[in-house]
């Protein structure tokens, strides 16, 4: 059992959880993820580790309520427990000196950008962060991102905060400003990571994306998370989650992420109907 030490509402339906797991906290590196299973009947979902404190034995995950599992998770509070938190999984982000790094975070993907930006910053890179969301209330962790960045740019789709537009538009502007960038690192919705990769492609600017497909065991055993990268099938759980954005078949990934749309709806309806009748907390 893994105890939730603190829970914070970051915005409408976005929750931050501080979880006790000294063994994972001791080992985790930027870019790695955990598999979370809430209870006996729960599914296994991968969540990127957004922060960790080794000496306190904690990890932080940030979740946006969307389906049954994330809604149930969002309903948990400080003092509640999760039956399984397994990790750290995946290959850590390759942190290296490349001069100026642009870290791009979209929506709930802003949070997992933080440890990566921090990692790049710590070894002496200049870090420019671009974070964005649909609307002002969904822009999270601005201060944390700012604390590990030399410059921060903010966008919202509706223009309610920062510049109106997408993070990829902001990236385009920065690149057209004739500055030299060594690497772009992006986390967020698949469409956003694709847009970022398309922006950098003509400039041959190295772009790393952190993919988030459906997983089951997340140890390379089932292949649910497979995606074509450079024409070769890769398992995101063990070969990734980081890949060269110019090589990823985003269309395939998008379609594989939608395999269970109907079932996800059904599960949420089922959950909500039980929830209303008070059988679940």
């Amino acid at each position: 059992m893994y105890k939730i030490l603190n829970k914070q509402d970051l915005g409408p339906s976005i929750k931050e959880f501080l979880i006790s797991s000294p063994k994972i906290a001791r080992k985790v590196q930027p870019g790695q993820f955990v598999v979370v299973k809430i209870d006996e009947r729960g599914e296994r979902i991968p969540l990127t580790i957004a922060d960790y404190e080794r000496d306190k034995g904690t990890i932080t995950i940030v979740v946006q309520e969307a389906g049954k599992t994330t809604c149930q998770l969002g309903g948990l509070n400080s003092g509640d427990t999760l039956s399984d938190v397994i990790g750290p999984l995946g290959i850590p982000t390759h942190i290296e000196n490349r001069g100026t790094i642009v870290c791009v975070g979209g929506g709930v993907g802003i949070a997992p950008v933080y440890p990566v930006a921090r990692g790049f910053k710590e070894i002496g890179n200049r870090v420019i962060s671009i974070i964005g969301a649909r609307t002002r209330e969904l822009v999270i962790w601005e201060d944390k991102i700012a604390s590990v960045s030399d410059e921060v740019y903010i966008t919202t789709d509706d223009g309610s905060y920062g510049r109106k537009g997408f993070v990829s538009d902001e990236l385009q502007r920065l690149i057209e400003g004739k500055r030299e960038f060594g690497l772009v690192f992006a986390v967020g919705p698949t469409l956003m990571m694709r847009a970022v990769s398309e922006v950098t492609r003509p400039y041959k600017l190295r772009t790393i994306v952190s993919l988030n497909p459906i997983m089951v065991d997340a140890t390379g055993m089932c292949g649910a998370c497979r995606v074509s990268v450079g024409g070769k099938t890769k398992f995101v759980c063990v070969d990734g989650p980081d890949f060269d954005g110019h090589q990823v078949d985003f269309d395939q990934l998008l379609s594989r992420q939608r395999i269970y749309l109907q079932e996800e709806k059904k599960a949420l309806q089922h959950y909500n109907s039980l929830h209303k009748h008070g059988t679940l907390k």
Binding site: K27, G87, R256
Partner: protein, 470 residues
């Protein structure tokens, strides 16, 4: 006394009924049936059955106890050699081992050794808590066992009975390995595995789930935590695909994923359980082994209208147990032999719509001794399907070996061992089961787990200077 030429039949769920549920198909002998079958045993002095058993159970011995109605004595005899009898009685391929060697089989059907083993084990489970064996005083030595499948459980079970302290590290959230994620409920009920794992725990084995060794700890970190030896029994956890076009279409599953969703995650109880599975109307399962039979039968139970099993050779070459093939046939699985997929077809939305196959004929025998299937030019044809399950075997999962550079693996990624002891290239580390041999059987994994347990215990008991550091 005249010997009945045939085994006493074991009651089973009727095919039409059982395809509508996930309950166990074979129901086990009643006491009367067990008595009748046990009496067929000739009690051969030389016991060829025992010699053919990978873990050398005293088979005539336990059968004699059954005829004496001393069921506690029977299970005690079995447990001298095998701590997981309820499992082995169900999934061990007896027809190729003990029952094949049975003297009766020269003239008649062999004694139903597996069914009798199961009877004794189930008798004990039904009775309540199993009898715990007396344990010797602790040796003070600690062994880490990686993985919790049959090889690891047997290894742990032996070590703990010799007084070593054992901790099992399992990557998934439940112990049992392939017994839990791979073998379906209707062939091996999960409650049985739980009880056999509980039994091992009651002997003092500690089981830690959700520990992915190689990620959370390296082997060297385990040594520095105070473990004196390590056994690796992590199985063949890497799904194989055919490398044909269309394999990443929606609706194509590896057998590992298809079975894990169903067995470990209980997708057949969705939405009471959270993990979903897609089934469609028409399912094709590729492959001719036990896993392919399991996947086909699972597909039927999940509600598929038509399940086709596609195998590139002929029935004779199928690696699946005859009994499992028969079960699948009885339940309505359609077999397409001498047929091989060429590509998987999909629609605009990236969903599977069919498989293009080619007919095969058998050529010269290959290195496996089976006739090599050769494609017949121009014989391509298409089958309409919604779901494809690739059950063509499993390879070595590289997660742990790649985190352990001084652990020698062969060109396929399997861990290299000394055959007699299971010892690896790394000091203090042994390995067994599918991560050494490639996908095989539960009983062979158990045999290798026990072989390593002997070697590990000897190593732990030897004075330091006598240890072989070569």
């Amino acid at each position: 006394m005249k010997i009945a030429p045939r085994k006493v039949e074991m009651p089973r769920q009727k095919p039409k009924v059982r395809v509508t549920n996930f309950n166990e198909v074979a129901l086990g002998y009643s006491e009367k049936e067990a008595q009748q079958e046990a009496k067929r045993c000739l009690q051969c002095k030389k016991a060829p059955c025992t010699k053919a058993c990978p873990v050398e159970i005293d088979i005539p011995g336990f059968i004699a106890k059954i005829t004496e109605k001393d069921y506690q004595g029977a299970i005690r005899k079995i447990k001298e050699a095998n701590l997981l009898p309820a499992m082995c009685g169900r999934v061990c391929p007896q027809e190729g081992l003990c029952e094949k060697a049975c003297t009766l089989s020269k003239k008649y059907e062999p004694v139903a050794i597996g069914r009798l083993e199961r009877f004794a084990a189930d008798w004990e489970l039904q009775k309540g808590s199993p009898e715990s064996s007396p344990l010797p005083s602790s040796t003070g030595k600690r062994v880490a066992v990686i993985g919790s499948g049959p090889g690891s459980l047997s290894c742990a079970g032996d070590l703990v009975r010799w007084g070593d302290k054992v901790t099992i590290f399992e990557a998934l959230h439940k112990p049992g390995g392939v017994l839990v994620y791979g073998i379906p409920e209707f062939r091996l009920p999960k409650a049985i595995i739980e009880r056999e794992v509980n039994y091992i725990q009651s002997l003092g084995v500690e089981v830690k789930t959700g520990y992915v060794i190689g990620k959370i700890y390296t082997l060297d970190e385990l040594f520095s935590q105070g473990y004196d030896a390590i056994f690796i029994g992590i199985g063949a956890g890497l799904p194989k695909f055919m490398d044909i076009p269309g394999e990443n279409l929606n609706g194509v599953y590896s057998a590992n994923e298809f079975l894990t969703r169903t067995n470990l995650m209980k997708a057949y109880l969705f939405p009471q359980y959270d993990t979903p599975i897609k089934i469609g109307e028409r399912v094709a399962v590729i492959g001719g082994g036990n896993v392919a039979m399991d996947a086909s039968r699972v597909a039927l139970r999940l509600g598929a209208q038509k399940v086709s099993n596609i195998y590139r050779r002929s029935p004779k070459e199928m690696p699946a147990r005859v009994e499992e093939v028969q079960n699948a046939k009885d339940e309505g699985v359609e077999f397409k032999f001498l047929t091989n997929p060429v590509r998987i077809l999909g629609n605009k939305e990236n969903w599977v719509t069919g498989i293009e196959c080619i007919r095969m004929e058998l050529g010269e025998p290959d290195e496996s001794g089976r006739c090599r299937p050769v494609p017949i030019k121009g014989s391509e044809f298409t089958i309409k399907v919604d779901i494809v399950v690739m059950a063509i075997g499993a390879g070595a999962n590289p997660l742990l070996p790649s985190a352990t550079p001084d652990l020698k693996v062969n060109k396929w990624g399997y861990i290299v061992i000394d055959e007699a002891s299971g010892k690896t290239s790394k000091e203090g580390v042994w390995a067994g089961g599918d991560i050494v041999s490639g996908a095989a059987t539960v009983i062979s994994a158990m045999a290798s787990g026990r072989r390593s347990a002997r070697a590990i215990h000897q190593y732990l008991m030897a004075p330091l200077e006598a240890r072989d550091f070569s």
